[in-house]
Amino acid sequence: MAITADHIRDKLTKELAAVHVDVEDTSPNRCAASYKVLVVSSQFEGKSLLQRHRLVNTCLAEELKEIHAFEQKTLTPEQWEKQKAQ
């Protein structure tokens, strides 16, 4: 499976019904495949940071086996709007 930013973006959007997904390939900064993602989904409502991150981890379980470093930010649509307004 070729892991690409697009692949990750599509998977997150589909499985988490995300309204917005940013995927940044941070591999050039490191020695191996690394990604930084921002996921905005109403599925995160009422969930703790840990629960949200686990949702994302589960969604990308296969990919994470091959990814070396992974950063993520998880927001609800409301938090996302607030952040954009800042």
Partner: protein
């Protein structure tokens, strides 16, 4: 304080590990101490390890010399809150520990932080907890008074 976060973030982006002078010594997972070889034994050992100390960190390198930007960020955040006495385990010393802790926590990356035997998260989560004030609260629950709280009181 914010400049430290920015600097750490810059280190993360550049992928550089920053040498920080010795603060927390931490308990070290030495090969001689590890007499278990089987994967199941490691799981059980990890179960004991995370219960043994209030704050436990699995990281790359040591608090005195982190070997990864994300692990360094965790060390710095804990240091900013005055948490110097914690158990830290260097996964670079032991590949079975490295894989074992990922299976144990069901978490794909290092560093990993435990408070009172409960998995808290990795660098992202700790950073957000630090920024939104949750870190001070969580440390309070552990009976640890964050030094940032003291600093805040003094500045008022």
């Amino acid at each position: 304080m914010n400049s430290l976060i920015r600097n750490t973030a810059r280190c993360l982006r550049s992928g550089a590990a920053v040498y920080i002078p010795r603060q927390a010594d931490g308990r070290v997972w030495t090969s001689s101490a590890r007499f278990l070889c089987a994967a199941a034994d490691i799981q059980k050992a990890l179960g004991d390890i995370v219960q043994k100390d209030k704050v436990v960190v699995f990281m790359k390198g040591t608090p005195a010399q982190p070997m990864c930007g994300f692990s360094n960020a965790v060390v710095q955040i804990l240091r900013m809150h005055g948490v110097d006495d914690y158990a830290s385990y260097n996964v670079l010393e032991d590949s079975e520990l490295r894989e074992g802790v990922k299976a144990f926590s069901n978490w794909p990356t290092i560093p990993q932080v435990y408070f009172s035997g409960e998995f808290v998260g990795g660098c992202d989560i700790l950073l957000q907890m630090h920024q939104n004030g949750d870190m001070v609260e969580e440390l309070k629950k552990l009976g640890i008074s964050s030094s940032l709280l003291e600093a805040e009181k003094e500045s008022k």
